[in-house]
Every structure is written in structure tokens, then in C-alpha cells.
């Protein structure tokens, strides 16, 4: 526990409490809840890896899971042809059409793959994959796109370090609104 951090936090709260009488006038009907009780819902992964759970997976572990649970929509080996987008694709950005966006040529952070797969996939059965399975599928997709080596292990340490090719090609549209 860093004392200065806590001190700053306490000061800012004090400030918030002293600004305006509205503090006392709101209903205060929210029920206090511990972070531990929220943990099962707290599935947000930040680009620096914050939020990544324990566990790990390799491309080899991901391949059979992909074939069983993902290929029906994303095609064999993620190459497309089904109802959902291809995940493994060598096409280039060409003009302004979003139809050419791929994980390899557009997605800026590999953590986004883990985050999205864990929260939303498989489409018909979200939140049924274990964390190890999500790591394995993420590793498989990255390796098939040649963004990591065939034997690389993905975990909370290695995944945020994957360098995505398009990372530096974004422009914040309205910086003053952030």
C-alpha cells in the first residue's frame, strides 16, 4: 500500500464532499458492494494487460478448440467463408472501405482479441470458454496470422507485448473531448 497514493485519494474525496451541499441531498440508495463480488462481471481487459486473468494457452492448444467452437462461422482455420468475418486474412487496407480491415492489418492491440472472445464468443454460447481456452484461441488466431510464433505461449505477461503492425496508425478525432 503506497501511503502517498492513499493520501491523495483521501484529499480528493474530502474535496468532493465539501463541494456543494448536493452530496448530502442525493438519495444514497446504492448498495455497497465489494470488488470481489463484482469479479465475475469484471471482464474488461485494457491494452496494457490490466484485467488479464491467470492462465495461459498456445496455438497448438487453440487449434482443436477453434475447429470445434469457431470454425462453423469463421471458416476452417479462421479463413472465412461462413456467416462471420475471416480472422486470418492477408488482405491489405485498400481505399477507405472497412471491408478490408483485418486483425492483422488493423487491430491495434492483441488484448482486444482476448477481451472480445471472452465476453462475446462463441456467438450462441458467450461466457462458456475457460480463461485457458480464451488464451489458447487468442494464441491460435495470432499465430495463424503470423503475429506470434507457432510455439509462443500467451498469458497475462506475453499477450500485451504482442506488437500489432497497425498500432501507430490512428488519429484521435477530437482530443479535446477526452
Amino acid at each position: 500500500m503506497s501511503t502517498p497514493k492513499r493520501a491523495i485519494f483521501a484529499t480528493s474525496l474530502l474535496l468532493a464532499m465539501t463541494v456543494g451541499a448536493s452530496w448530502a441531498e442525493t438519495p444514497h440508495l446504492g448498495k455497497p458492494i465489494d470488488e470481489a463480488a463484482i469479479a465475475n462481471w469484471d471482464i474488461s481487459i485494457l491494452p496494457d494487460g490490466t484485467g488479464l486473468p491467470k492462465g495461459s494457452g498456445t496455438p497448438a492448444q487453440g487449434a482443436p478448440i477453434f475447429a470445434e467452437k469457431c470454425a462453423a462461422c469463421h471458416g476452417d482455420n479462421g479463413k472465412g467463408g461462413g456467416a462471420a468475418a475471416a480472422l486470418v486474412d492477408d488482405r491489405q487496407i485498400n481505399g477507405i472501405s472497412a471491408s478490408n480491415k483485418t486483425i492483422k492489418n488493423f487491430w491495434p492491440y492483441a488484448t482486444t482479441i482476448f477481451d472480445f472472445v471472452r465476453r462475446a464468443m462463441p456467438f450462441q454460447m458467450p461466457r462458456t470458454l475457460t480463461d485457458d481456452e480464451v488464451y489458447a484461441l487468442t494464441a491460435y488466431i495470432l499465430a495463424e496470422n503470423k503475429l506470434i510464433g507457432a510455439n509462443d505461449v500467451m498469458n497475462a505477461e506475453t499477450l500485451p507485448k504482442v506488437k500489432m503492425p497497425n498500432r501507430d496508425n490512428f488519429i484521435i478525432r477530437f482530443p479535446d473531448r477526452i
Binding site: 491523495i8 485519494f9 480528493s12 474525496l13 468532493a16 448536493s22 452530496w23 442525493t26 438519495p27 444514497h28 440508495l29 446504492g30 448498495k31 455497497p32 458492494i33 465489494d34 470488488e35 463484482i38 462481471w41 469484471d42 471482464i43 474488461s44 481487459i45 485494457l46 491494452p47 496494457d48 490490466t50 462461422c73 456467416a83 462471420a84 487496407i93 481505399g95 477507405i96 472501405s97 472497412a98 471491408s99 478490408n100 480491415k101 488493423f106 487491430w107 491495434p108 492491440y109 488484448t111 482486444t112 477481451d115 472480445f116 465476453r119 462475446a120 456467438f123 450462441q124 458467450p126 461466457r127 496508425n169 490512428f170 488519429i171 484521435i172 478525432r173 477530437f174 473531448r177 477526452i178
Partner: protein
Amino acid sequence: MARSKDRDVRDKTLEAVAGNGLIDRRALLGRGMLFAGAMSAGVGPAAAGAEPLTDDPWSLEVGEPMSPYQVPSKFEAKVKRTLSNPNNEPRNSHARTPHHLLEGTTTPNGLHFTINHGGVPTIDPDKHRLVIHGLVKQPLEFTLETLSRYPLTSRVSFLECGGNSAPMFSPEPMQETVQALHGLVSCAEWTGVKLSTLLEETGIDPKAKWLIAEGADSPHLSRSVPVKKALDDAMIALYQNGERLMPGNGYPMRLLLPGYEGNMNVKFLRRIKLVEQPQLSMYEARTYSQILPNGKAYRFYFLQEVKSFITYPSYGMALKGPGLYEISGIAYSGTGRIEKVMVSADGGQSWAQAALQEPVLSKAFTRFRMPWRWNGGPATLQSRAWDEAGNVQPTRAEFVAARGELTKPPPVLGFANQHYNSITSWGVANGGEVKHVYA
């Protein structure tokens, strides 16, 4: 006779405010009074040969019983949303608002556009929870019941998908209705609790610059929102046009971020986490980042910029002969109020200022109207809006110069790019048929 002479003068000078038949609204009102005067003097149109009026069947029998929740007349069955995925296949689905069949500024709840990424969830409002946590002093959990006991506030706000008007990126004007082109924007009165009130109760760590909003739908859709916006005018919306939110619009509660792209207004809201850095969720890292002509891409576009389009007349309609028409359309800006709307009937060679229906509200639909005497010849109708911050809706040429266009027409339901807000042009042909044109 003197009056009629005055009227001729008015016709030639005061009435015409721009080329190809645009008429000054005040002159039109004045002319109406003259008509009334003329009629009282017995100089109305000849009435010879008119059929005598009789009672129709519905005037001679008792009508139907009322329904507990009434729906529109069966004769209005064509006024409905168009669905991109009617069979709920495993992909996203869109329902577009039929602006060409509506008037005023309020989108009826049943016709409000919706986009869902994993079907419409059936949420038990008694079991739904909203938690606020992360960089706060005290994480809190709210129910619909407890939120309903907070001070409520109402505001009218438009909501627009960042991908609305995407068919306009086509290099050729796509022959589609205003519903197909611009149907992913709607406007409603939203009532709920200001997010700042709840954040006051949780307390905010000053390190928190963003919040991650997440839904209870199957994709657990999540977006990052600057705390700056959360403390400005964000709302946890519970009611839509006076009744609880429609299921497709986020029942039982959603985030409302007036003026910001629809996808950020997270529906079925169940979690808000305050964080230092944005999440770069799939929707912000991929879907809502827009490729630019130079190969780079915009991120965090957020704002739905000033825009307008004419809803009447518009593509697919046919004018029935020369005479007086009222051009009508919608204008809005995510920055604030609409300042003015200019209308042209000659493809932008001359412009006249349209009347704005009061009240003109910030970040809400503003209805504009413009009297027009169609002479039966070709006309190109356009509208162009300005907002109170001085932002002006770009011409198509200006927009394309900055943002580019596609090399071939895209699928009309596709989203090749986003945040399109240039002028829309409707071409009226000699016979009165209305086409979509670029001008």
C-alpha cells in the same frame, strides 16, 4: 382590384427568396389571408359538378372497442422499420426509422431505430443490476427500483449510429429511400438519472479519466467513455417518450450520451468501471475506427456532427403536378442547437433560409420547412445546416475531399465507413419523380 395588384407585386418580389420556386414563408402566410378575404367576397373556385356528400359506413355504425395499448390505424401498416436480419441469424441486426413517412421531431417508440449485436435480450427488470466500480471510493450496486427513486431529469436527444448514411460513401448516388440512407438516427425524450449524481455517491478517484460501460446482452457490449462526458450531460435513461425503454433500445436502462455515436450509448447497462485508460474494446479498436484516404484511421470520433436531410419530398415519391409544396426535413448536431438551415431548389446555385419549428433544442431533431412552388420542371432539392457553434454541414465535394469515397457502390446495408454528414440531394424530374442525385 388594388389588392390583386398588390398580390402580383408580392408574387414577383417578396415571395421569391431563391431560384426555382422557393418562397418566403411570411409571404405565404400573408397570401393565405388574402385568399380568406377573397373567399368571403364570394370569389372562390367554381364548385360546379362536385359529388354531394354522403355518410360513409363508419359514420353509421358503432366502432371497434379500444385496446389497452393502442397501435396505429391498419391503413398505416406501411409505416414501419426495415429489418436487416429479420430471421435473427447469428450476426447483428438493424431496424431503420422510416423518416419519409414521419413528421415533427419525435420518433415514436415503435419506430425508433435499433441495432443489436446478439439479438434483443429479455431482461427481468427486478433482477437487473447496475454496478459502478473501479477507481471510485465506494463501489455501489443499483436496482431499477432504487434508481427510480433518484431525482429524474428529462431531455430530448437524437441518437445516431456512427454508421448512419454509410451508403452515401458510394461513388454513385444509390437509389434508396431516406429510410435506407439515413434511417439509423431517431429522436426521443429520455428520462432518467444523471450519471454525475451516481458518481457523486461513489466518489471518483482523480486518476479516473475514462469509464467502461458494459451491457447485459449476450455480447456484453462495452465501450469506453471519457469521464469528462460522464460528468457533463450523461444520463442513465429509464424512460423513452414517457414510457419505459423499448426492449430493443436498452430495457430496462441504458447509457445516454447526447450527441455521441449510438454504439457508445450502451444498452441493457449493467456495469460502469472507472479506469485510467480506455479499453480499446472491439467496437472502438476496430468497428468504430474509420479508415482515411491516407491509410491512417480515426479513433474516438464520438461526435455526431451537424447534419440535415430533406424527408419530403424524397427518393421514391412522385409529385402530382406543378403547384405549391412544402419541403420538410430534419436537422441536428451533436454539438448543440441548430442555428439555421438553408434550402436550395436549384442544386446549390441559390439558397433560402428555412423556417425552424420551435422549440429548437440542443442535440435534438429540429424540423425545418420551406414553401416551394414547383413549376413542373427539373429541380434539385438540398438542405444545409449550421449549428450554434458555427459548424456547417459540408457539401458532398467537401466531405469527399476530406474523407474519401468508395470505388464502387457498396451493399446498401453495409458499413464501409462512418460519420458521413454531407448534404443529401434529391433530383425532381419533369414528371415529378424524385431520385437521389449528387450535386
